[in-house]
Symmetry: C2
Subunit: 142 residues, 2 copies
DNA sequence: CTCCAGTTGCGAATTAGTCGCAACTATGCA
DNA sequence: TGCATAGTTGCGACTAATTCGCAACTGGAG
């Protein structure tokens, strides 16, 4: 257990938002300045393998980077709004049941699951609805 | 509708495996040699927006690339075996119900969903089981 | 046949992630 | 308390995936 790993683990655990490698590096450097980008990649890979963190894509709303969060007892899924970029987390027993069904029917030993949903959050859907009512004819020419 | 787009759409529709951009480009070039890599990226982005294809990561088993497949009526999920790399597709009404629950509870207008599961397929899990029985002491030195 | 909005090819730029290797350090042990 | 060393790190160059600007091209409407 090195100072670098400690700093990275603490940073992920105490993070309030989903962190990509770049922000994880910046924030971890506030605790321990001697951290290199490569170490972040290696540590994140390690923690994934140990099942301590989960990797997310968040529907690639902001480029191709990956995000990391501590793995909790109950898996949750991520709803990403294509309009405002908001990320909503959501957990439900139905998801746990689905996982059990997947494992049972396919005889598959599940280690990680990643369920991401893209669409419009309620307020963005409402805004879009309103816009359509106001301009009923977007038509062939804008 | 250009020749390039036609070739790309046909290639995806008739594909038997999940295609990444590189293989999509190669296969589409057999129909229409004048296709550029950038066009593949742009077309894939277009088709995603139109809801004609889905984008997959397949748990990044083979690097960071993305895979594409035609969107079918019923969403299916992908099981990726970390050991042998096999991809299993699976659809179940439980997934459709889960999606409805997600949409209802969060008032979220779902446009795409991506459920990927990583773990061990039945045969790889069996092999691993066997290996553990034969070498009960992997111990500190391999 | 002409026109032009939209599409494409090209090649360079950007971004995310990986690698090899020498230097360093946490930890177990004398 | 110091030594040995397995494992970790920093560095910087590298690879792979993707994006971009712009000039040339083209499908299809008129």
């Amino acid at each position: 257990m090195t100072a670098q790993r400690r700093a990275l683990i603490e940073t992920i655990q105490e993070a309030t938002a989903h962190l990509d490698v770049a922000s994880l590096l910046m924030q971890a450097r506030e605790r321990e300045p001697r951290i290199n980008r490569a170490t972040v990649y290696r540590t994140v890979e390690l923690l994934k393998g140990l099942g301590m963190i989960d990797e997310l894509d968040l529907m690639h709303l902001n480029g191709e980077k990956h995000y990391y969060e501590v793995k909790t007892q109950q898996d949750h899924l991520h709803l990403a709004c294509f309009e405002c970029g908001q990320i909503i987390e959501f957990a439900t027993p139905a998801f746990e049941r689905l996982k059990q069904e997947i494992a049972a029917i396919n005889q598959f030993a599940i280690q990680v699951t990643r369920l991401e949903v893209g669409g419009l959050c309620s307020s963005c859907a409402a805004k879009k609805e309103k816009r359509l009512q106001q301009e009923p004819k977007p038509g062939p020419r804008g």
